[in-house]
């Protein structure tokens, strides 16, 4: 049995008169003592455990998914009929801006971060990430940023300039309400989460892999997450700069985007899209990683062409930096730039296509089991291909000048983001739920969930291809009969179909939420290895113990877990089972490490993350408040630095009145 070493319940006892109370952290520090509990609500608030943080990321992301989804439904209700009256122009503009912002920054990115936080250390055989307190700080920053962005709804109107917030429309003259300020500052704070998370995961993957796990024996999910972190590492600073310029323009009278002062509005576009294009790879690659895990498990075959998948992921990471101006083909760049970016965009379709081929060939010749996770993964292959092909049609720049800013583009990115990223995340939910919670999501409900989502998604976004080609631009709060065309299948018809589809889709997602509740109430425990999986994270209990692995496994193969369960028969060349999952786990437990030091909880990340929205509100309303926030940040940074990462003896309570040591675990 592994033992997490906590200090023996000795207390500092200088020469005290007999009967005097012992010196304990509570007595000295009161409410400010270092948190060391591993159960209870405080263990969640002050946790640095990657698993708890992953779950919290997931819960927050799910909440914002629902918020963003409601915003989308309102948009579709407004557009179901000509000259709709559901939302006025101002509210509509806020709605589409916030829908996109919420979905991109507050749902897909944090959800992927949640999966990454939970499973990357498990997949590489580590006990936690390299910098656990920074991990916690990142989560609290994300929460703070999400709250700041959405506070605007209650304080004068949300941001209304579109999720890419082009200047000069984003400036103080054309967007006078505070919504854009909340947007800018909130995203700035959330960006800190992504950046610190990126550094953390890169260091973790490079330094903390189990012995024997070379980079080319890492699971593909971990590989693609690593590529994502490198993308974030270089992209987030760019958006940080852009947001700073905008903050100074709006709050401190700078003239970065003031045309009369000689500024060029295209500066914002370039800065945003240099971030924005790698950002879309940040959104899709984690789902590609999940699918690359799910497909082999449910095909009973390894991933076809593992090196190709890995290298194409890295290639996307590189070439993705050279295509940003394909979002600006109509922005007046000039034919040379347009031609270069057009060709580069075509080039990047190739590594993406490689993955589709590899996934299909993984299934080819396999033994396919269609669990809900597998259904979502197969759905991703088809739907992402559709989205990717419409993307290839945009790469032809002259054609794009007809398509850009119309519903054709909206169709494209919803196919790749919903049919791609979100389907991948749902596949991950169904696949990894038993590992995280010890119970399996109901497969029957899951099937209904899947079908409603597929049908709803195609009903909603399929017609948008036609709407765009028929000339309906995006970001219009209303459309008119005068431009709708004649005949039955005109713009009016397809808008109605899309709106009905969005309701079908909503129902599908509701089924998922119901599934979560039903599963939470059920008493049925999941088996240790319900899917007959292949990678390291399944060599733990469900849910994993606090220290993940009793002993760190030595890795000899890609798909190490699979190779511990199955061996190839030398005569018949078929796979035969040599150990069950329970036996594999039992062996790890037999060789358990006896001294494990886990990082201790801390409140400094939370304090530091709280200082940031105080500064943001201060910039908006009152500079002295910002100064107070700045002092909180300064205090938290130094407090954190001076605190050891593992709690010292004197942080633990002495024996309480009933003789038990509080905060110690027993061997």
């Amino acid at each position: 049995m592994a033992i997490i070493e906590r200090p023996a319940p000795n207390v500092i006892v200088p020469a005290l008169p007999a009967g005097a109370p012992a010196i304990t952290p509570t007595r000295t520090f009161g409410a400010l003592k270092r948190p060391v509990a591993s159960t209870g609500w405080k263990s969640w608030l002050f946790t640095v455990d990657h698993k708890k943080l992953g779950l919290m990321y997931g819960a927050v992301a799910m909440f914002f998914f629902i918020v963003g989804g409601l915003e989308a439904v309102l948009i579709r209700l407004q557009l179901a009929a000509p000259e709709g009256k559901v939302l006025n122009a101002d509210l509509y503009n806020q709605m589409f801006t916030m829908h996109a912002t919420t979905m991109v920054f507050l749902f897909v990115m944090p959800m992927a971060a949640g999966f990454a936080n939970y499973f990357v250390p498990l997949q590489i055989g580590a006990r936690d990430v390299a910098f656990p307190r920074i991990n916690a700080f990142g989560f609290w920053c994300l929460l703070a940023g999400g709250i700041v962005v959405n506070l605007a709804w209650f304080l004068g109107g949300a941001a209304d300039g579109g999720w890419f917030m082009y200047a000069p429309n984003s400036g103080p003259v054309f967007s006078p309400s505070r919504g854009v300020d909340f947007w800018t500052l909130g995203l700035q704070i959330a960006g800190i989460a992504s950046l610190t998370g990126a550094i953390n995961l890169i260091v973790t993957v490079l330094n903390m892999r189990a012995p024997g796990m070379t980079l080319m024996k890492m699971p593909v999910f971990t590989w693609l997450i690593t590529v994502v972190q490198f993308l974030l590492l270089f992209a987030i600073p760019v958006i940080t700069v852009a947001l700073f310029l905008l903050t100074f323009q709006r709050s401190f009278g700078a003239q970065f985007f003031d045309v009369a002062a000689g500024a060029d509005p295209l500066l914002w576009q370039h800065l945003f899209w240099i971030f924005g294009h790698p950002e879309v790879y940040v959104l899709i690659l984690p789902s590609f990683g999940i699918v690359s895990e799910v497909l082999p498990v449910f095909s009973r075959k390894p991933l076809f062409g593992y090196p190709f998948v890995v290298f194409s992921g890295a290639a996307i990471g590189f070439v993705g930096w050279g295509v940003w101006a394909h979002h600006m083909f109509a922005s007046g760049l000039g034919p040379v730039s347009v031609a270069v970016f057009s060709v580069a965009t075509m080039a990047i379709a190739v590594p993406t296509g490689v993955k589709i081929i590899n996934w299909t060939l993984t299934m080819w010749g396999g033994k396919l089991v269609f669990s809900t996770a597998m259904k979502f993964s197969v759905g991703l292959i088809v739907l992402f291909t559709i989205g990717g092909l419409s993307g290839v049609t945009h790469s032809v720049a002259p054609s794009d000048t007809q398509q850009t800013d119309t519903y054709y583009i909206v169709a494209h990115f919803h196919y790749v983001l919903f049919g791609g990223a979100i389907f991948g995340l749902f596949s991950g939910f169904y696949y990894w739920w038993p590992k995280m919670f010890g119970k399996m999501l109901n497969e029957r409900l899951g099937s209904w969930n899947f079908w409603f989502m597929v049908i709803g998604m195609n009903m909603t976004f399929g017609p948008m291809h036609i709407l765009g080609l028929q000339g309906q631009p995006r970001r219009m709060y209303q459309w008119t009969e005068a431009r709708a065309g004649e005949g039955f299948f005109n713009i009016a018809f397809w808008n109605l179909v899309a709106s009905i589809g969005s309701l079908v889709l909503t129902f599908g997602i509701l089924l998922f939420l119901i599934n979560i509740v039903v599963t939470a109430r059920s008493k049925v425990r999941a088996p240790l290895d319900p899917w007959n999986a292949r990678s390291l994270e399944w060599m733990t209990s469900s849910p994993p113990k606090e220290h993940n692995f009793d002993s760190i496994p030595h890795v000899h193969h890609l798909d190490e877990f699979f190779h511990r369960k199955y061996e190839e028969d030398p005569v018949t060349h078929t796979m035969r089972e040599v150990a069950t999952a329970e036996q594999v786990l039992a062996e790890l437990e037999r060789n358990a490490d006896t001294h494990i030091h886990m990082p201790s909880p801390s409140y400094w990340p939370l304090v530091l993350a709280t200082g940031l929205p105080i500064v943001a509100l201060g910039i908006l309303y009152s500079i002295p408040v910002a100064i107070v926030g700045g002092l909180v940040i300064l205090y938290a940074i130094y407090g954190w630095s001076l605190e050891p990462s593992v709690a010292v003896d004197s942080d633990y309570e002495g024996p309480s009145s009933n003789g038990h040591a509080v905060g110690a675990t027993h061997g």
Binding site: F370, I381, V396, N490
Partner: protein
Amino acid sequence: MKSRRLALRTLAVTGTTAFLVSCATNAPQDTWQPKGPNAKMIDDLQQPVFAVAGIIGIIVAAAVGFAIWRYKDRGQPIPEQTHGKPALEITLTVIPALILAVVGVFTFRVIFDLARTDDTQLVINVTGQQWWWEYDYPVQNEWGITQPIISSGQLVMPVGTKVLLRETSRDVIHSYWIPALNGKRDAVPGRVHTLRLEADAPGIYAGQCTEFCGLSHANMRMEAVALSDEDFAKWVAGQQAGYRAPAEGTLAKEGESVFLNQCVRCHQVEGLKRADGTLAIAAPDENVWSGAAPNLTKLMSRNTFAGAMFDLLRDACRDSVWRADSAEFGAKYLAGVDETCLNVNDLRAWLRNAPEVKPMYANPALLADTNGKYRGMPNLGLSESDIDKLVAYLLTLK
């Protein structure tokens, strides 16, 4: 059972997509109905690309559909753990790369062809502003344009001529798009972007602003009107004809004084004189944040107003102009708008309370941020009799 359903589904998805794409109908802004050589160049390039994309999509969907039917778990043993066939991989990677390379070569040509400006025959300056378009025709004697012509909403141009738009904006980024004639080009403040337009036949071609520009972005529309060379010359002459003051004692004359009191603050009518004989020069730079309002000099020679959001022509009259065939279109367009064809209701509603029919600034309390200047036309609080007079006056602006 499940896998058959899955197979059916993938085929259904593909089939539906193909069906959807094929069922487009004639919308005024349809991007697959080119009416000029520039749009045709784009269409000729995109059609094969769409076809190739469609074929690849069907192949992938079919492959996936086949795989999920054929390799479903029917009790077979765990399959051979193949790790990949590099030769197959490389082949399947190289083929799409080659296809894309060919597409790239053609794309290159079209990009540079569409960017040419050296063969321009007529230059028109386009300025976007929240939420309407202004056109000014610089002096070009070969077209009979001897003084700058300023209009808005409908861009009139000669047929079969290589027109070059020089686009800019006064406030935020807008985008000029007439799908039947060419792709779009952003109008960015402080910059000048060029866009080629050429129409094959006389007619009216619908368009819309396609870069989010604020509250009424959805209501910022325009049309390009192509006229034969003779008709265009007539139009130019008409635009440059001087101002005809309405006769004394008419309702229109009273409307002229209302105009001088209220409208001249922002709207310019060339040649309009005040009571003391001085030229009335509008001062929108003092009253409107973006500094200009549509020039109304020959308002009734165009048939839309308020950023082409509303028609000046009533239904039957409108249809007869919009649906006229090429031979008759010029004459019908040049006839302009008269009393019998005027869309009085929309015009009156606009004059009565413009921000109510077209959202123009979210919150009047925020005027402080724009030095007290309006963004768009304010509610002037005109009485009904003033509106009567103004409508009578506006009808004379032809």
